[in-house]
Symmetry: C2
């Protein structure tokens, strides 16, 4: 039997020394699962978007229902990109009619259902087992939907896309975890390393912690609209090499939490960098439909890689999309997909085997994704209403993206890059030295302390920059741009008052 | 920095020696993900229910659409417990009306929707963000649904159930993987060990392979209706102790693939065994509503553990249920839940943190689970139709459970325990020595060879016993009892003819 030495990521050492030496006899009572015996990698996981500040917001909301002493009457939830929950966005009629029809086909007998919805429902159910969404789908997802997704990608990029390379999953998160899993190897001397942006979406750090991988952090260039700087990528990779075996690189474009849209030129240089270092590209492109700033344009990594020609057009990558984002915001459906590009065919067989153990992703989420990716066409009965609903949402998002950046920049000690895409602003805040020291004495990140104060005093719930990681010594928070325009304006005014009083208090 | 020795499960050594010595320079072309660099644990995963034989069945189905030489015109898919896909079972009206209403609340304006459905839809949407299933739910699932599940469990067992201990998930598979993850510790000298039944549902072996855990296999007693034998449990555990740190024990009741329903007495003894060895109980009870044989009764592990009193009633366990099984069979929804019982409160915080990184399970799957767990009550407008549809399905399943056992036992060289519960028969087949030797020379499990021949010659698709593991030297296959009665009879007759000719051929 082989015994292999494996090393843990450095930041695990605290847990290791705790868990490694505890024997089962030391456990309290006759318990089989305690903090001492719990998987030490699980303890390492952190996820700020639903972290302590959000839990506290929930508690406050409960208290607001009774008599209370808070100087506000509602919590403004700007912590999560959840369109339907955040105020004034209702579901798109076409999507819901289609999914309701797939759920209960009897409805198709009603004359209230447009004929194009009926034929779409029939088309989808005709390839479902027993013509029911209640049957397991193929592990990769329903073939008709994969064909539609491939057509969408082909239309977007001008390059072929094969339905056999499309994988439906339970939200992009599920797919991202699957792909990162492929890149792990805990049998080697050093852990597998994955490059992640800082600031990043905390699913990445959480997943890498859970897998015992090494997080190779590269800093986004805040002074240059959060672009990727190639020298910085080289530095990050170089410094990691004695601590891990670098395997892949995550890019989030449009950015979360940072809201930038990468230039074509920047993407090309990133691809060249990944090629030079033989890194698998994990392209998180779930905000591809959320581009607000005039002059900004989304370029997919796949198209750019193909445009670059050999040898780049043979590089392996995965690109993710989600039903939760875009302008329709069907988060609860957990619809999502990824496309595998240039994957070794034997590896593909392994991916299919791996995902088949959980049988398939939710058929209802697949149906929502199907509706999103293949909307009504001009001339079809559902088109006009669809177009009208879409314009309303898209225009509001564009208006708020511009508004939020402008308003935050009008507050003393706050700097906010333009919200080019996605659904977030990530303003930088200058905190007084005394406040920083006080927070540290309480064992809190300074911006977490700040955000807790903001919540307690105004009801505004945002996520501290420390939850996404950030350049040392800087402080930020992430806010969504989703609340209605009036609320957003009100929110920034409340924020302004709070911020100035905070500066006075800790001067 | 600490370096910890970790050992792999013995059956990984082949992969380790392969993957451990390969350097990145040896890889073909400039690839970042090849069979050599793929996560070696992923390569270890096997999942027979969607394995090579099922892939072949799909290929044959495609060929049957054109001109072909197969001596049959359709594939009988008896490989997977997929009610809607397997022939004559249509979705339950009440469930689909409820989910369609939640999807597109405009429908509630129609007089065609029963008033109880309308009030159920309103009740659920009133606690969803923006009154939409499109909002993210709480990480554990929508509170109203968790309350209904807790009420269902309390009604079933006569013991309190707390909605805070209920976790909605994407099918039971997702929840099972989460719970097993908690029990892993790859920092220790020996891998974590989990006891699994043999035969087992291959999700367990697949998950343990993926996690690098040790599979402590205990044999079910085929001669005693697949009961658990305590001496056998002791043997299995004892023999594993120098290879792993035993942490938990999986019990599948009613059994998959074996179809038994455990006696109350057997469950009590299993609980005593788990207590003695401080094992976390993973109770896979997804077939709790599928009990067919007169005289059989489902006893939950939770109730039995509570009935036993101290110290057993303080043991930690998780119990799983699913929307896919029961008699409604809404597999595509990926609805499921687990109850955590007697879990340390700090561990619970860790579980909530871990699951929050993927935000929530599918809201549509949650809605389906809600409908299943809280059906119409007598006197409500939907009740009569619901009752009628339920009886039809339940009676057919009962009839087929009895029929299938009887028919298989009428075939020479085939022995089949009664199908007490779940939706499978797992007959044992005596294979001629020459056939066994031939299969081995082809590097195939003998029953896999047999099942491939069965598929090619009759179109019947079942899963070889080797895919579930089985006692050495025995051979089985798993068939569902889901095809319509006529098809099941036809299937067994085709099987009889095939089996006798197979015996003649390899005599």
């Amino acid at each position: 039997m082989l015994a292999i030495r494996c090393r843990l990521p450095i930041n695990s050492s605290r847990i290791v020394s705790a868990a490694g030496v505890i024997t089962r006899k030391e456990q309290k009572r006759h318990a089989s699962l305690t903090m001492e015996t719990l998987n030490p990698l699980v303890k390492e996981v952190e996820y700020a978007v639903r972290g302590p500040i959000v839990i506290r917001a929930g508690e406050i909301e409960k208290k607001l229902k009774g008599s209370h002493n808070f100087p506000f009457d509602r919590v403004i939830r700007a912590n999560i990109g959840d369109c339907h929950a955040s105020g004034n966005q209702v579901p798109i009629t076409y999507i819901r009619q289609f999914v309701a029809g797939c759920t209960y086909p009897e409805l198709m007998k009603s004359s209230n259902f447009p004929s194009d919805i009926k034929s779409r429902v029939e088309r989808l159910l005709s390839v479902c087992g027993g013509k029911s969404l209640g049957a397991y789908t193929e592990s990769q997802g329903i073939i008709t939907i994969r064909e539609d997704i491939a057509a969408y990608i082909q239309q977007r990029d001008g390059y072929p896309s094969d339905p056999n390379n499309i994988y439906l999953c339970n939200g992009a998160s599920d797919g991202i975890k699957t792909i990162i899993k492929l890149l792990m190897n805990n049998n080697l001397e050093k852990p597998s390393g994955i490059m992640i942006p800082v600031p990043q979406y905390p699913l990445y750090s959480a997943t890498l912690s859970e897998y015992g991988a090494y997080q190779i952090e590269y800093y986004l260039d805040e002074g240059n609209n959060w672009a990727l700087n190639i020298d910085e990528l080289e530095r990050a990779l170089n410094q990691s090499k004695d601590r891990c075996v670098p395997r892949g690189m995550v890019i989030i474009n449009p950015g979360n939490p940072t809201g930038q849209v990468l230039s074509r030129d920047n993407i090309e240089n990133v691809i060249r960098f990944a090629h030079k270092h033989q890194l698998f590209i994990v392209a998180d492109e779930v905000y591809q439909e959320n581009v607000h700033l005039p002059g900004s344009k989304f370029f997919s990594f796949k198209k750019t890689l193909m445009d670059l020609g050999a040898p780049y057009n043979q590089m392996e990558m995965a690109s993710f999309h989600s039903a939760s984002k875009g302008w329709h915001g069907e988060c609860g459906s957990r619809g999502g997909y990824y496309e595998l590009i240039n994957i070794d065919k034997d590896v593909r067989v392994q991916v299919n085997k791996l995902i088949s153990a959980c049988l398939c992703s939710t058929a209802w989420g697949q149906a929502v994704m199907a509706a999103i990716i293949n909307p009504p066409k001009e001339g079809e009965p559902s088109y006009e209403l669809y177009k009208q609903e879409r314009s309303a949402v898209v225009n509001r998002l564009r208006e708020k993206a511009e508004l939020v950046g402008r308003l935050f920049n009008s507050v003393e000690g706050v700097q906010c890059n333009p919200v080019m895409g996605a659904m977030y602003a990530f303003p930088r805040i200058e905190l007084p030295k005394k406040a920083i020291e006080h927070a540290k004495s309480k064992n809190m990140a300074p911006d977490a302390f700040y955000c807790f104060q903001l919540l307690e005093k105004t009801g505004i719930c945002v996520v501290p920059g420390s939850g996404f990681k950030q350049s040392p010594g800087t402080h930020h928070f992430r806010t969504t741009i989703l609340p209605p325009v009036d609320q957003m304006k009100d929110m920034v005014e409340k924020f302004r008052t709070f911020h100035l009083s905070f500066l006075r208090e800790w001067k």
